[in-house]
């Protein structure tokens, strides 16, 4: 990570998978995570492979994370807020209603 000289910016703190980290006010969640060299944000629902941001402009939908309990949020299109809880999204989105493993009869 190479730091470029920037005008100072207020900081906020967010959580990623339980770990607290500093972010610049006004930046995207994706940028904040990449700044800490987190390159992978999720695993795919189809094969469970690791994915991270690709286009950074909201068209590839690879940077999906869970934010404050809501799934399938594009990290590159969501702006950091103090106290935000971000989690890696593992597989398909989770709305809080899902079958436990024993119940899954599909």
């Amino acid at each position: 990570m190479h730091e470029i000289e920037m005008k100072p910016s207020p900081k906020v703190s967010i959580e990623f998978d339980g770990q607290t980290l500093q972010a610049n006010e006004g930046e995207t969640v994706a940028a904040a995570l990449l700044r800490q060299t987190h390159l992978a944000f999720r695993t795919t629902p189809v094969t469970g492979k690791s994915r991270g941001p690709f286009c950074m402009m909201g068209v590839c939908f690879d940077c999906l994370v869970e934010i404050d309990g809501a799934p399938n949020k594009q990290a590159c299109m969501t702006y950091v807020e103090d106290g935000m809880r971000v989690k890696r999204q593992l597989g398909a989105g989770d709305t809080g209603v899902f079958l436990s493993d024993e119940e899954d009869t599909q």
Binding site: T28, R35, K49, F54, C55, M56
Partner: protein, 465 residues
């Protein structure tokens, strides 16, 4: 947001900003919407409060956006930011979603200025964490001052050299630049050079970037014939084929780029006819000299209709705005013509460099149509080139059938990163031009919309049955 506007503009890049400034200056009731919280689109991203202290890093062209943004800020267009447009119906009913609520409104005229996106770059390993587009590198730099040391830049096209040059100016070490520009392109581009010479300064600028990169000691390899990225759960290395021999470079970050293509999904879903441009290998909106599409009241400006760059986008924004003003009786024909004619001339001039750039940086077939069957083509649904080829041989005649058979194009990106590859794959397998195939059928929502938002939508009185 009101229920109705004279003119609605989708996108706050150069085309949108220019259109909104002109339209509101002539008394039209203007709405302009963008997903981003700040204006600038991608090319001028971050322009309203750029925090990078050293202005030479991003370069003069970038800061041109400042005056455009200032003029826009001074206008009285109704600017709705951080809002997603999920539909523009052929009757100009616009669906907008902001802060968890969806709204419907109508406009007499709609200008679609959705800009460009990166061309897909389907090579083995392109879905690994750590692989991003050159555009991403630019966005991270412009918006957050973030860079990655010792990244590999791979591909072709002016934007690739630009970002690498910006890295150089910023003092960020670059591991390598792997240039995939086919050597044969140079000869083919020669007949277009006279046109390009009208923009000698741009050509010289590009050469300056490349020269600076080469003389900086950065590893700059040209004539790359093939690429693959490897790694278990993250990028570990990139391999390149040069003169029939494979080489390997270790890297955790790779930036890919092989040109930009119009972001056509909204316009296509609105019913605007598009045609395949074989020279540019992408879809172009079929518009007249005023930017008007076949759908009454809907016009397209900027890179979203066909790539021309930031300045051309600004001109097209002005032209479509004047035409919209004229059509809604806000300006008379004479006033429109006085303003538009010189802009059309300037636009023609601005576009003179395009044929040269199109041919010079035309990506080679193996980077658009993967040879390795295991390569993922549809990122969202993880559909490989092999699976697509198999489905074609089983009788899939076009991209819509293919979607039904393989789920290719069913994911949230709605074909933005796969439909170009898919169309070319099918065309090649059937030995026809892409123009002879049916196009991928696109419908709203062109961006995802929450079910609760759709449920809480207020239906406009005019259409409630």
């Amino acid at each position: 947001m009101k229920d109705h506007y004279d003119i609605a503009i989708i996108g706050t890049g150069p085309a949108g900003m220019a259109a909104a400034t002109v339209a509101s200056a002539h008394g039209a009731d203007v709405l302009i919407v963008d997903e981003q919280p700040e204006v600038g689109g991608q090319i001028y991203r971050g322009i309203t409060h750029q925090s990078i202290k050293d202005k030479t890093i991003l370069g003069d062209d970038y800061y041109k956006g400042q005056s455009l943004a200032d003029a826009f800020a001074a206008s009285n267009a109704d600017h709705v930011s951080g809002a997603t447009v999920w539909q523009v119906s052929p009757e100009r009913e616009i669906g907008i979603s902001k802060d968890g609520a969806a709204h419907l409104l109508t406009a007499d005229q709609v200008i679609i200025a959705t800009g460009a996106q990166e061309r897909p770059f389907p090579i083995p390993g392109w879905t690994l964490p750590g692989v991003m587009t050159a555009g991403s590198a630019q966005i991270l730099l412009k918006s957050s001052g973030i860079t990655f040391s010792n990244a590999v830049f791979a591909g072709t096209g002016p934007l690739l050299y630009l970002i690498a040059y910006q890295y150089l100016k910023a003092g960020v070490p670059i591991r390598a630049i792997l240039d995939t520009t086919p050597k044969s392109n140079r000869l083919k581009a020669l007949p277009h050079l006279p046109g390009a010479l009208y923009h000698l300064s741009s050509i010289m600028k590009g050469r300056k970037w490349i020269k600076a990169l080469k003389s900086s000691g950065t590893l700059f390899i040209e004539g790359i014939d093939n690429l693959k990225i490897t790694g278990k759960d993250s990028t570990e290395a990139i391999e390149y084929l040069l003169q029939n021999k494979w080489h390997r470079i270790e890297a955790s970050n790779v930036f890919l780029h092989q040109g930009v293509v119009p972001n056509v999904n909204l316009a296509m879903a609105s019913g605007c006819i598009h045609h395949w441009n074989e020279q540019k290998l992408c879809w172009h909106a079929s518009t007249d000299e005023w930017g008007s599409s076949n759908v009454p009241g809907i016009s397209i400006a900027g890179d979203g209709g066909g790539i021309g760059g930031a300045i051309a986008a600004e001109y097209q924004g002005r032209i479509t705005a004047y035409q919209a003003l004229y059509t809604t009786n806000k300006v008379k024909k004479q006033e429109r013509d006085i303003n538009v004619l010189p802009t059309q001339h300037a636009l023609t001039h601005e576009m003179r460099i395009r044929p040269f750039l199109d041919v010079m940086f035309r990506p080679a077939t193996q980077f658009r149509i993967p040879t390795d069957d295991a390569t993922i083509v549809c990122r969202c649904e993880e559909v490989t080139a092999g699976k697509i080829r198999e489905s074609i041989s089983l009788g899939c005649a076009g991209p819509n059938q293919l979607k039904g058979f393989t789920r290719c194009g069913m994911g949230p990106c709605q074909g933005r990163f796969c439909s170009l590859s898919v169309s070319e794959l099918i065309a090649k397998a059937q030995n026809v031009s892409v123009n002879e195939l049916e196009q991928l059928r696109l419908r709203p929502p062109v961006k995802p919309l929450m079910l609760a938002e759709l449920a809480n939508l207020t239906i406009l009185a005019s259409e409630d049955t």
